[in-house]
C-alpha cells in the first residue's frame, strides 16, 4: 500500500506539472496571435534616406529634403508661377520612385513624425510626385510636398503607400527615415518642378513631363 500511495502522489505531481506546463505554453503561444487589424495592414518595408527601399509594387529613394517658408510653383496648369507661403514650413521631399510590376496610378504620401503625428501630402500642386503615374521600370524623380508646423517637425519619415482603388489592405508600403531635419526654413523659396523620368540616376537624362 505505501508504494501504491507513493505512485499515486507521483502521478498527481506529474499531472500538476504537465498542466502548469501546458497552461504556460498556451499563454506563451498567445503572444504570437496577430491582431485583427494587423492581419491586413499594409506590408511595409523600412529604410533610410539615400538608400533604395523596395516594396512589392514599387521602390523609392529619397535624395534630398528641403525645408522652406515659401514654395514656388511653376508652370501650373491653372495659372502662372506663384509663391505660396506655408502655415508653418514646407517640407519638400525629393525622391525617385519606380513601379516594379504593374503601372501604379499615384502613391499616397504621408509624413510621419517621431511622436506619431501624421501630415498628408498637401495635394495642391499638380507638379507634386503624388499625382504621378508610374509605368513599370521607368523611374521618376520629383518631390512630395508637406506643410507642417515648424515645432512639429521632429524625426520625420516619408511613408508611401500604393492604394489601388483607395484600398490599402495588404498594400505595398515603404517607410523612409529622413533623419534629423532642421526645422529652420532656408532663405530661398524652393521651386517645385514637375516629375521627370530619370533613367540614369545621374540627373542628366532627358527630362520628360511624366504627367503626360
Amino acid at each position: 500500500m505505501p508504494s501504491q500511495s507513493r505512485s499515486g502522489v507521483g502521478r498527481r505531481v506529474l499531472n500538476f506539472v504537465l498542466c502548469v506546463g501546458l497552461i504556460s505554453a498556451v499563454l506563451f503561444v498567445q503572444r504570437f496571435i496577430v491582431a485583427q487589424d494587423a492581419l491586413v495592414e499594409p506590408v511595409a518595408t523600412a529604410g533610410a534616406q539615400g538608400s533604395v527601399v523596395s516594396s512589392r509594387a514599387f521602390e523609392a529613394e529619397v535624395t534630398r529634403v528641403d525645408v522652406t517658408a515659401e514654395i514656388e510653383v511653376t508652370s501650373s496648369v491653372i495659372g502662372d508661377a506663384e509663391k505660396v507661403p506655408a502655415n508653418g514650413v514646407w517640407v519638400v521631399v525629393w525622391a525617385r520612385v519606380t513601379a516594379l510590376e504593374d503601372t501604379v496610378h499615384g502613391v499616397s504620401a504621408e509624413l510621419r513624425m517621431a511622436d506619431g503625428v501624421v501630415y498628408d501630402e498637401r495635394g495642391w500642386f499638380w507638379a507634386s510626385l503624388d499625382r504621378g503615374t508610374f509605368s513599370p521600370a521607368i523611374p521618376q524623380r520629383g518631390a512630395f510636398v508637406f506643410e507642417v508646423p515648424a515645432d512639429r517637425l521632429d524625426g520625420p519619415a516619408l511613408v508611401l503607400t500604393h492604394r489601388p482603388g483607395f484600398e490599402d489592405r495588404l498594400s505595398s508600403q515603404v517607410e523612409i527615415d529622413l533623419g534629423e531635419v532642421d526645422s529652420e526654413p532656408g532663405p530661398e523659396a524652393v521651386i517645385l518642378t514637375g516629375p521627370e523620368i530619370d533613367m540614369g540616376g545621374n540627373g542628366t537624362g532627358e527630362a520628360a513631363d511624366a504627367s503626360e
Binding site: Q36, N87, V118, Y119, G123, W124, E147, R169
Partner: protein, 169 residues
Amino acid sequence: MAVAVLGLYLFGGLETASPDPEPPGTGLRNILYEITPHEAAPASDEVKGAVVQVLADVELHGSDLPVSMFDIGSTMDVRLFPGDHRVKHPDLALTRHPQGVTTRLQPHMPEEALISWPLPDGVSPDEVDTIRITVHQTEKLVTTGGGGFFWTPVAGSSVGTVDLSIGEG
C-alpha cells in the same frame, strides 16, 4: 425612486436641453476640433450652386492623424432660418490658398477657412437670414476588422451653438 420617475413622467418629463445660441466669434470645441465662426454670407459655387459660406477659425487638436471634412461635417448640426432647413456635407477652403482643395484637416494646425454648405433645393439665398451652427461631442469608431476608423457625433450631445446673421454676398 419609482415614485419620482412616475411623477416626472406625469408632469411631462425633462425639457430637452437647448442652449442659447452664442454670438459670432465664440469657439465651439469638442474633443476633436475647435471651430470659431465669425461671419456668414451667400455665395455661388461652380459645382454646388448657391451656398452659404461661413468664415471661421478651425483647428484639429484631438487627433494625431488627418481627419476628413466629411467626418467634421457629420459632427455639426447646421440649420438655416427662417424655415429651419438642415444643411449637410460642407466643403472647406483655406483663406490663404482658396484654390487648393482641402478634403482633410491636418493635425495641430490653426487655420482660417471658408466653410460652405449648399442650400437645399427650393431655398433661395434671399430667403435666409440666419445660419445656426451646433457642434456635437464626437467619438472615434473603428470599422469592423479594425482596418479603419471614423468620427461620429454623440447622439443628443452639444458643445455649443452659434448664430450668424447672413450678410450681403
